[in-house]
Structure formats: C-alpha cells, structure tokens
C-alpha cells in the first residue's frame, strides 16, 4: 500500500489447522493474493503445529528455507517484500518445547520464556522484522484472578524479553486479546505501567479491545504513546460480561461451544453491524503520527481469501489507501 502508514497482513488466517497450510504452493497462493491486494509485508504467527508450522516456528522455517534470507526469497517470489512482525504466545504448548505450559504469571517459568523467545527474536531481526507481538499472559479462566503483584511479575518478564529483543533491534509489544487476564482498561494500563516504555509497547487489536469492552479509539487517543503495533479487524459482538472467564473460553466463547453460541467473532473491516469505528481509528493513528505497522487481520473470520479481498477493498475505497 502506498501510504504514510505501514500496512501489513496477518498470514494466520489461512492456517486453520496444523496440516492445511503446509505446502509451499498453498502458501505462495496466499502470498500472491496478499500481494495483488496491495500488501507487501506479512505478519507471521507461531502455532502449536510442530513440524507443520513452516511459517510459524523458527526452527521449522529454517528447515524449510535455510535462513532468514531464504525465507525472504520465498516471500519475494510472490511479491511480498518482508516480515513486519511475528506473533508468539509462550503459553501455547508446542512439540519443540515438550508441550510445556509456560506461565508468564509464574516467575519460575521466566527464564525458560526468555530463552524460548530468542529464536523468534533472532530470526525476526535477521528478516528485518519490527515487532515480536506476544500474548502477555494465558487465558484468564485458566488461573486465579489477578493479584496485586501479577502486573509487576508479568511486566518484569516482558522487560527482560524486551531487553533481548532490543539488543537485536526488535521491539516487543503486548497483544491485548479478549481472553487474557489483563482484561479491563484499568488492568491493561496497570500492566503497561509495569513495563519499561523503552522496551515494551502495546499491540492494540481493535476487535479484541472492543470485545473486551474497551473503545479502541478512545484508548488509543489516551495511550497512543505506548502503542507500538496495531492489528486491525472488526467484530459484531462484545463480551456480555464475564464470558471470557467461562472454562475453555477459546472454544466455549470464541467458537460458540456454549453460552450465546456465537460461532464467529471476527469480521472484515466495514462489516455490517461492525462495532469498530475503523475510519475514526485510522484517522486517530494519522493524527498522532503513528509510525508502527498496521496489520490487517482476518483471524478466524470465514474464507481467508474473501476476507482479505474485502479488507483490501475497504482500505482502497473507504480509507483512500492506494495499492502498490
């Protein structure tokens, strides 16, 4: 996209299951789709697919492409210039780490998390990426309510990861998702306050904040100095109250397994009934001179290709962003 904002697209929308987005040809088709839609950078996402995560796990990427330069050459074949960012959840069990459930709220796990972050940081830096986007803490329903010291404990971990990343020239940003425990605006701010702004920023996800009951435009206006990364998507729903605390909320809430049985939470930009004022949010980014990446994300929102095409249409026709 030709714009003062830097636009990227999240590739995770195609990776629905560990064995459906593994063939290089399938990945090339997704990358070509994004390229012709005007995106020239992508955001990678770690997963729990082990050896099948050849666009998500550092060691598997290296097995497939040899080096960061090999990965970039693969992307360039489709017209994608580079990697903007990489999403990583240290609490997501993976084969490579013995399916360890590392908990950021547990100080005993911090050394292991810092070590686990290094391969991501190193490969991201070598590929010219900007942000390691991390899940700050595991889902709220999996642990006791936050205590007084939790923000400090979690913040101290991400400061350590931030130091490692900064040494490699990469930033760390904490991604707000609607299931993690720093859920309210007050809790989120307490976590940010527990981190060093020079090392750790916020990855503001417009749909996730909205679901969590936080207005992304107002929050950005109030805290724009801490926002280092943006994920842009829409939603039609908010958490009705405490749905994020439902046991198994990943399935019971976000996949419609229980409660209100909402099977789809994330939508393309400009969706009918969308709760995110995307135009106002992007205007606010411009007004505050935001310099980070804006990653458009389809997430689990239907046909990944269709959603990407509709997102690009919105950028071109509603936000006035010209394609490359």
């Amino acid at each position: 996209m030709k714009d003062t904002l830097r636009w990227s697209y999240a590739i995770n929308a195609w990776n629905l299951r560990m064995d459906v987005f593994v063939r290089h040809e399938e990945q090339q088709r997704a990358l070509k789709t994004l390229s012709v839609l005007g995106f020239d950078h992508v955001e990678l996402a770690s997963g729990m697919g082990g050896r099948w995560e050849n666009l998500g796990t550092p060691e598997i990427i290296l097995i497939n492409h040899g080096s960061a330069e090999g990965l970039l050459a693969f992307l360039r074949r489709a017209g994608i210039s580079g990697v903007s960012s990489w999403c990583w959840d240290p609490g997501q069990p993976a084969e490579e780490t013995g399916y360890a459930f590392l908990m950021t709220r547990n100080p005993a796990d911090h050394d292991a998390i810092v070590e686990a972050a290094k391969p991501f940081v190193d490969l991201l830096a070598a590929a010219g990426g900007d942000q390691l986007v991390v899940r700050p803490a595991g889902s709220a329903w999996m642990a006791p309510p936050l205590g007084d010291g939790d923000a400090g404990i979690v913040g101290s971990l991400w400061n350590r990861v931030g130091e490692v990343a900064a040494a490699a020239g990469v930033g760390v940003s904490l991604h707000y998702d609607c299931l993690q425990p720093f859920h309210t605006e007050e809790q989120l701010v307490s976590l940010l306050d527990a981190t060093d702004p020079a090392l750790v920023g916020l990855a503001l996800d417009t749909a996730e904040l909205t679901i969590g009951g936080i207005d992304p435009v107002a929050f950005y206006d109030a805290h724009h100095g801490r926002v280092a990364h943006v994920q842009l998507k829409d939603t039609r729903f908010q958490d009705a109250g405490q749905e994020y605390l439902t046991p198994g909320a990943e399935a019971t809430m976000l996949k419609g397994g229980a409660g209100r049985r909402i099977e789809r939470w994330f939508y393309e930009l400009g969706t009918e009934g969308g709760l995110v004022d995307v135009e106002a949010f992007v205007a606010s980014l411009r007004a505050h001179g935001y310099g980070g990446w804006v990653v458009v994300e389809g997430d689990k929102g239907g046909n990944a290709t269709e959603v990407a095409m509709l997102n690009s249409w919105f950028l071109q026709r509603r936000l006035g962003v010209e394609k490359v």
Partner: protein
C-alpha cells in the same frame, strides 16, 4: 466473468442470491484490480427483481468500484425444431430473440453479446459445410441487429460444441460476414479442443472482439465432446477442466498469447474467467486473486512491451 460460488450459512451460493452477496462479489473483483465484469444475459430476470433495471444494476456495480459491464453471454439451449443456427427454419425466431435481447440490455452500452455459434453434435461428423454456412448466415443477421445498438455479435467456441475444431472454425468464419460476425477467443476452450489459441487468434485477429483468459491442464483425448449434456460437467476422466492463468502444468502459453495480442494492436477488453473453479477444492475468490497476480506480474509487462 459471472461464474462465482461462496459459502453461506445456507450452503454454497452464487453472487446473485442477494444485493449483499453481490456487493461482496463485486468488491472482491474490484479489490484485486479488475476494472469491469461480464455477465450472462439470463441474469436479466434477477437483475429486474433485485435492481429494477439493467442500468440500475450497472450503477450498483459502479458503486463498488468497477467501471461497467462489458459483455453479456447469451446462453440458449439449441434445438433443431425450435432454435438452432444450422436450421434456416428457426432463423426468424433467433433474430427475433435478439431484437428482444438487445432491447432489454439497451439501458447500458455493452461491447459484445457473446454466443455459442453452433448447436451440439454428439457424433463424429459434426456440422456439414452447409450447416456451418446456415449458422454463419443467421449470426450475420443477428449481428446487424446488435450493431444497431453499437454492440458486437461475437462467437465463443466451447470445446464440446458443434463448431469446435480448427477446420470447423475456419470454415464458419469463411462464410461469416466479418462486418457482423466477430470472434471471441477462449484460450482454454480452444486448447481442450486441440486448437492452438494463439494460432487461431492470429488467423482471425481482425474480427476478434474479446477474450476469455483461462487455462486448462487437459485436452479432450476421449471424445468427451460427445457426452450429454456437455463434457464440462459429465466427463468421466476429467473432473475439472479449467484453471486460472499461471497454473502449474497449464497448456495455454499465455506469454505467447499476450505477445500476439500486443503485436496485433488489440486494445479491447480481456476477460478473465473461472468456470467451475470450485471443483476439486478450488475457490473462486482465490482464483480471481491469483489470476490478477499473474496478469499484473507477467502479462502487463509483456503488453507494455517489456517482453520479447
């Protein structure tokens, strides 16, 4: 081109289900960089129902970021006792049909009305020379009608149709008045029928008024053209005939095709078609994006003169 399927809460649908689904379709086509659409003229009734008029529908198309509707494909089931280009007794009916058709579409300016110029022949011999001449005659009469509306009558040769091989095509056009009967090249359809699309274009380029660019991985080597109702849906050994441009193992040489189009100074529209793209797990949206990627990254440069 009009072909499209997507998933919905009520299962697979096409874009004509509602104005909402049409909006999504048009926005996807616009987003990847296409400028216009083609449609089928049997959509006329849905257009009336949902948009009120053809002009209103084109306005709706433009609101989604596309310029216009370029071509409409006139799909008719040919029967020798009622409506068949090879049967002179039915010609009055055919000509009258097009007077009605052109009146229906007169609210917008089309480039082409596309027809299948010949009936189906499920046997070895196909149409006789006389039958080809009769077909050429009626399409010239129809072309006179369409040109009163500033629209070309142009002929599209399905691989399973009566005028499909090179001899039949050349004979048909030898009889057909070039003022009124134009040629619409479909790269994959010709390839399947063992007709080189570049060669046939070069032989008839002066009357070519449009293209369907799509690829195939298979020729008809089993006489599938004899299958009823048509080999596109009933072939036993080829479940999927059509692929988007740039597909692996594609039989169409698009780079050569584009060089020829450039060298002959063609300046009309080129339509991309994904006919039955959802076969074997394919996806219309993805095929649309991939074909536009190929056009942008491979063909545009050739047409601009960069290719040898």
């Amino acid at each position: 081109m009009d072909h499209w399927r997507s998933n919905s809460p009520s299962g697979p649908i096409d874009q004509w289900r509602s104005r909402r689904t049409m909006t999504r379709f048009l926005r996807q086509v616009a987003a990847v960089g296409f400028d216009a659409i083609d449609t089928f003229d049997f959509r006329y009734w849905q257009i009336l129902e949902q948009y009120g008029s053809v002009a209103n529908y084109q306005e709706f198309v433009q609101e989604q970021g596309l310029e216009r509707i370029v071509n409409t494909f006139h799909g008719v089931y040919y029967e020798p006792d009622r409506y068949a280009p090879e049967v002179p007794e039915t010609h009055a009916t055919i000509v009258e049909d097009f007077k009605v058709t052109m009146d229906r579409w007169s609210g917008i300016q089309l480039d082409n009305v596309i027809v299948m110029p010949g009936s189906r022949f499920y046997d070895d011999h196909g149409p006789t020379d006389d039958q080809l001449k009769h077909a050429a005659d009626v399409w010239a009469k129809v072309g006179e009608v369409t040109q009163q509306y500033g629209v070309n009558l142009t002929c599209h040769h399905e691989h399973y149709a009566g005028i499909r091989n090179r001899r039949q095509i050349d004979t048909f056009y030898a009889y057909a008045d070039p003022r009124y009967v134009k040629f619409f090249v479909d790269t994959a359809q010709h390839c399947i029928a063992d007709v080189d699309p570049v060669d046939v274009y070069e032989a008839h380029h002066e009357r070519v008024t449009g293209f369907h660019f799509k690829d195939t991985r298979n020729k008809d080597v089993n006489e599938d053209y004899k299958l009823f109702p048509d080999a596109e849906v009933s072939a036993v050994t080829t479940e999927k005939w059509f692929y988007e441009m740039g597909t692996a193992e594609g039989l169409v040489d698009f780079e050569r095709m584009m060089r020829s189009v450039r060298d002959h100074g063609y300046e009309g529209w080129i339509s991309v078609e994904h006919d039955k793209a959802d076969k074997l797990g394919g996806d219309y949206a993805e095929s649309t994006a991939i074909s536009r990627w190929y056009a942008k990254n491979v063909l545009d440069g050739i047409y601009a003169g960069a290719g040898a």
